[in-house]
């Protein structure tokens, strides 16, 4: 008997659904093994997990708070990965978006004027901040062929130090310097009321608030989909990702595409950073145990890869993984060690990667025919 793996000529439709679902199921089974091995009961752990993620009162509300940044980070990664430009700096680009967005909110929020203006300024500033930070890696890649994976990742640490520095080690514009609390522990200056982003509340499940950022994330997904599916730009970027040589022969301008795609990817991450400030924290949070500890940018890579870089799938998966992450935060304690959620996410990603082979290849089991009296010890190699 011989097992061979051969390429499928056509990819059956049903596999595009079965593979991700199967990956998730498989991941939970493997994570259950980890749980048992470290002395936890997987059934009750998982029940708690789903309760805290989606079923309890206000759990979806909390899930949205995590899902919104995850959707931005997933879209940022998807935008670049699609062109095989591995921007893994969404984390740092998000910090920069938060820094720029907070500056715009603090500056314009205090000067009166119509309410939407400070918010619009924050959106623009956040996108600019994220794009500028991503373009460092973009320029280095386009002009010096420097590996963007390493530069964008290393810049995450630099952005983290800048964020900490602005709140903890300097008297910067972002830092609250007045009041009793500020003298005890360094904090960010709160946004003026007019710069706080609005939310829309539905009265189900004990109140469900959709933050403005969630709508912006869906809008960004639509824009990204249109960009990649319906425009020449998106087509050229996809060709460049699949076959750089073909793209060069077709006259695609490599440098411009790299810069544009890095810029778009960074702008989405930066918008996520601005949304963190405007929607949720309402002040710049430089705490290494706060925004920096969560690592939305890295989880965004998982989200993008699971959504196979399709913007709408990314948004959906951000919601599901957001639930997982939210449950992880609420349940954290001796029964539910931190890091478990990362373990589950990692296994989901591994099994999705492994599952890819099922959708790209067919596994065929061949039996040797009995009529051949002396089968050769090894099947002859076909001439390549």
């Amino acid at each position: 008997m011989r097992i061979s793996v051969e390429q499928r000529l056509r990819r059956p439709r049903w596999l595009t659904v079965v593979v991700p679902v199967g990956s998730v199921v498989f991941a939970f089974l493997v994570a259950a093994v980890v749980l048992v091995a470290t002395g936890h009961n997987p059934v009750s752990t998982y029940r708690q997990l789903f309760d805290a993620a989606f079923l309890q009162n206000q759990s979806i509300d909390q899930t949205l708070i995590v899902a919104t940044p995850l959707a931005f980070m997933g879209l940022a990664a998807a935008a670049a990965f699609r062109m095989k430009l591995y921007n893994i700096g969404a984390e740092g680009q998000m910090y920069m978006g938060a820094i720029f967005g907070a500056a715009a909110g603090l500056y314009f929020g205090g000067r009166g004027g119509p309410a939407p203006f400070p918010i619009a300024a924050m959106v623009v500033a956040g996108m600019a901040g994220g794009a500028a930070w991503a373009l460092i890696s973009g320029v280095l890649r386009a002009f010096f062929k420097t590996n963007e994976i390493l530069t964008s990742l290393l810049l995450n640490y630099v952005a983290g130090y800048i964020l900490t520095y602005l709140i903890f080690e300097s008297e910067s514009y972002w830092r609250q310097t007045k009041g009793f609390n500020a003298s005890v522990f360094p904090t960010g200056k709160p946004l003026p009321h007019s710069a706080v982003w609005p939310g829309w509340t539905l009265h189900v499940q004990g109140g469900l608030t959709f933050p403005l950022g969630a709508f912006l994330a869906v809008a960004a997904a639509i824009v990204l989909w249109v960009l990649y599916k319906l425009t020449r730009f998106g087509f050229e970027a996809t060709v460049l990702g699949d076959s750089p040589r073909a793209a060069r022969y077709a006259g695609v301008r490599m440098r411009r595409k790299v810069l544009a795609v890095m810029g778009v990817s960074g702008a989405i991450a930066g918008l996520g950073g601005a949304s963190q400030i405007g929607d949720f924290s309402h002040s710049l949070d430089g705490d290494p145990n706060g925004l920096q500890k969560i690592g939305y940018g890295y989880t965004g890579i998982v989200v993008a890869a699971l959504g196979r870089y399709n913007p709408f799938a990314v948004v959906l998966i951000a919601f599901l993984l957001g639930g997982l992450e939210n449950a992880g935060n609420t349940l954290q304690g001796p029964d539910f060690p931190a890091g478990l959620v990362g373990v589950i996410q990692g296994i989901i990603l591994f099994s999705a990667l492994g599952g890819e082979i099922l959708s790209r290849h067919r596994i065929r089991v061949e039996r040797r025919t009995k009529r051949v009296p002396a089968a050769p010890a090894r099947a002859p190699e076909p001439a390549a």
Partner: protein
């Protein structure tokens, strides 16, 4: 004299550079076989947490415990790299995405953090740590004392590893076969070299080195467990392999240079030297310098990526080449 900033920086550069060196040597072996593993940071963290756990749980004399801890860390790193090896060598998954997945799975928000929390390892000092090996008379010699003789045994072993890897790659048959596998797997296959076996073996060896690198951090440099303690060292190690043009002796030079940069921030702080926003620029320096050196290496005369294995990142499938 032995307390001058320069001597202290070089001496601590050697100490801080040692985990970078171990990790870079491991990555070098994997990349020479054609497998890019971006999971170094995650493998280091799992090695770091498991090494620390061993030291806290095993009650034996210091030497045995520490040897055991290094072994456990190496095994932990190997297990992590096995996941990557299976995905990219057998299943031919995308090496970049799989490596990133490994870092997410094992890293600061994943398995290493889970194990650290579950074993309650945070906020306790290590029960046994590596100390300077040689007699104090030798350590107090001017200049060479602290730099060469004031180090722990892991530093000396890392020197042996550099020599061993260098000789392996240039003077032994398996080493030459390894280079063939990384440069031209189809040709190597025709010569009767088992490409899959070589790739597995060296990816796993890379994991073992990364695990030891992690344990060096938690048992020699900062003897404690803190979530995400390696702070990006795994990524610097990957960059180091590129600057070193995939050569072990240059990995050593680069590792000590970046080690010294990492030592700069605490040293300046300890000496109360303030140069502008010191904390900001000294802590960012290793990362920024890594980027700058990468730019220099990847552009200009070195553009053709001297020494990069030609098949790096490309899965090998017989009959498809």
């Amino acid at each position: 004299m032995n307390n001058s900033l320069l001597v202290v920086l070089v001496a601590s550069g050697v100490a801080y550079g040692t985990p970078l060196l171990y990790a870079a040597l491991g990555e070098l072996l994997a990349e020479r076989s054609g497998v890019l593993n971006l999971g170094v940071e995650g493998m280091m963290l799992v090695g770091a947490v498991m090494g620390f756990w061993t030291v806290q749980r095993v009650h034996a004399n210091s030497g045995i415990t520490l040897t055991l801890a290094i072994l456990v860390a190496a095994v932990a790193g190997t297990v992590m790299s096995a996941i990557h090896a299976f995905l990219v060598i057998t299943l031919r998954a995308n090496q970049i995405v799989s490596g990133l997945a490994l870092t997410i799975f094992a890293g600061a928000v994943g398995l290493s953090s889970y194990l650290g929390n579950d074993f309650n390892l945070a906020d306790v000092p290590a029960s046994h740590t590596f100390h300077a090996l040689l007699p104090s008379g030798m350590q107090s010699l001017p200049v060479v004392g602290p730099i060469l003789f004031g180090q722990d045994i892991l530093v000396y072993i890392s020197w042996l590893c550099v020599i061993a890897v260098g000789l392996y790659l240039s003077r032994t048959r398996p080493g030459l076969n390894l280079r063939a596998v990384g440069e031209a797997p189809a040709a190597a296959d025709t010569m009767g070299i088992n490409v899959t076996a070589y790739r597995y073996a060296h990816t796993l060896a890379g994991g073992a080195f990364a695990g030891v690198a992690g344990a060096t951090v938690t048992l020699a440099i900062t003897p404690q467990w803190v979530n995400g303690i390696t702070g990006g060292a795994g990524w610097i190690a990957i960059a180091l392999v590129i600057f070193a043009f995939w050569r072990p002796e240059l990995c050593l030079v680069g590792a000590y240079f970046f080690g010294a940069l990492q030592a700069l921030a605490p040293q300046l702080q300890a000496r109360n030297i303030n140069l502008g926003p010191t904390v900001l620029w000294t802590s960012s320096l290793p990362y920024v310098m890594t980027i700058l050196v990468l730019v220099v290496v990847s552009s200009g005369t070195a553009r053709r990526r001297l020494g990069a294995p030609a098949a790096l990142g490309v899965p090998y499938v017989r009959e498809e080449h």
